[in-house]
Symmetry: C2
Subunit: 317 residues, 2 copies
């Protein structure tokens, strides 16, 4: 990692809207650069300036198309927009396949939009720590709205989506998605359900399924009842309805004081993830050595049980 600029200079330029500085700062975050604590300290005063919207759903429901149309809609209203597309990447090659991001290039020449794909490069724990920090970079750069797009099937991705002020869960008809949504726990993180591809057969059934499940959930008086919106993003239909649902949820957050509660909870998750990352790195150092390899061989041969081996490993910390 080259350090052509020092961190205060980079943050200062990002504040002025310099896209290259924003990109560099996010790269520092993504790569887990040693300068990260310094970056975080420089960005701390600007915390809370942006509205963070999470967008999640199974592969193929149309997340990228919907994000693209939402960006268009927000730009039409004069908002500065940041997009973080969080891609679970290969645990082996460390690379993300970003083919379906190409359509996002609609906005690449617009100076009011920052778009960034982030890959995990290792472990999702790292991404859970990096994503909120990348959000802080975009906040520092003056974005009004930040869209965080994740694949919402694994629990880790659901957790990343739930780091937002408002979380959208996309479903599509005929994918058995309503049931799968419950299985993966996204029902609990959704503030707004978007039934995308609403022009397809089965959209009404999916709508009823979701409304039915929402009816079953226990909710205290004053709790938010998730909204259900229909859209066909590929035809740009229903995008204003999604935007209106996001605004409605934001009004509720402001009115009830839940915005601050959520952000404190988000910060707690973030701090915990960073702390775990530090501990994981210490274990990783042990992993580079022969300690873990030797212990694992004993376990594989039945000479040691894994708990005893873990105890041994932790003694080295």
């Amino acid at each position: 990692m080259s350090r052509a600029y020092d961190v205060p200079t980079l943050v200062g330029r990002a504040r002025e809207g310099d896209a290259r500085s924003v990109a560099r700062l996010i790269s520092l975050v993504e790569n887990g650069d040693p300068a990260l604590p310094e970056v975080a300290a420089a960005l701390a005063p600007y915390a809370g300036g942006a509205q963070v919207v999470g967008l999640t759903g199974s592969p193929g429901v149309g997340k990228s198309t919907t994000t693209n149309e939402l960006v268009r809609s927000l730009r039409a209203r004069g908002k500065r927009v940041g997009v973080l597309a969080v891609d679970p990447s290969s645990p082996f090659t460390g690379g993300a396949i970003l083919g379906d991001r190409i359509r996002m290039q609609d906005h690449t020449t617009d100076p009011g939009v920052y778009i960034r794909s982030m890959s995990s490069r290792g472990r999702l724990g790292g991404l859970a720590a990096a994503t909120p920090q990348a959000v802080r970079v975009l906040e520092g750069a003056g974005c009004d709205v930040i869209l965080v797009e994740t694949v919402g099937v694994g629990q880790a991705e659901v957790e990343i989506a739930s780091l937002a002020d408002t979380t959208l869960v996309l479903l599509a008809p005929g994918m058995g998605d309503a049931i799968q949504a419950v299985k993966a726990g996204v029902l609990e993180v959704a503030d707004v359900f978007v039934i995308n591809k609403a022009d397809r057969p089965g959209a009404d059934a999916t709508y009823r399924d979701i409304q039915g499940m929402l009816g079953l959930g226990e909710r205290a008086p004053g709790d938010w009842r998730p909204l259900v919106v229909r859209a066909t993003a590929v035809k740009a239909e229903g995008i204003d309805d999604i935007a209106a649902a996001i605004d409605k949820h934001r009004d509720w957050l402001d009115r009830t004081g839940n915005l601050l509660t959520r952000r404190e909870r988000r910060a707690a998750v973030e701090v915990e993830a960073i702390a775990l990352g530090v501990l994981r790195a210490r274990i990783g150092d042990l992993r580079q050595g022969t300690a873990l390899t030797a212990l694992a061989a004993c376990v594989a041969h039945g000479e040691l049980d894994p708990y005893a081996a873990a105890d041994e490993l932790l003694k080295g910390l």
Copy 2:
């Protein structure tokens, strides 16, 4: 958790094939019982007795149906079979929705089959630690083959599948699955691809896509080239081909010495997961206290950056 039997008695009975003792031991594992290290120590001598087959794929590709038919096929060959169906459960309610496990009841009256659904009850880290231990219980109980079924979209689930000797990745035509498979990193963990629902339109295209991607991958001489098998599990078609592919991979593992290499790597992942679980529990203790809450509030208000807060938190360890 009642302790009506001591651990050596439970393990002894499980060795004799007592299904209730097996079930109790897996519950101890799943619940993270304090007796876990004792259970692990008692089971250690029986490590490596079973062939572990992972089975993963996106929601709706037919994992449960395929597992069910594989169990039938293995039973017809006289094998004792264990099934672990690993379900990412809700991070908020802690409950798993197991509706599609009902069909597995085909085998519930067969004393040669143990079937168990496992939910994460908290964090996938816990499940990554619990699953190999549950495999050890089934190994101790004399299973010849253990099928571990996971939803294969999130990275954590992919990692769980990769804990197997042989990993099957299920795809179905027309779900854009070939591309998604690469995105989620399953291409690298797959030893055998099963194109399920092969009677549907698009199966040939999916077959060609996968073969094409396999052709692109770099492979050293002597490396395993993943097999691609077509099946229609719901009609019990192609099941023998899947079984033959598993056998072929197992022969390769034995012949090349890769079986032991994989199992040592598996043990290393297991030991690391347990060690991380211990550290996470220590942080969890801090979370119960007010330290994290107070630090998070400072972060949310921009008075402290999250790295400085994490440092503060870790000082308490």
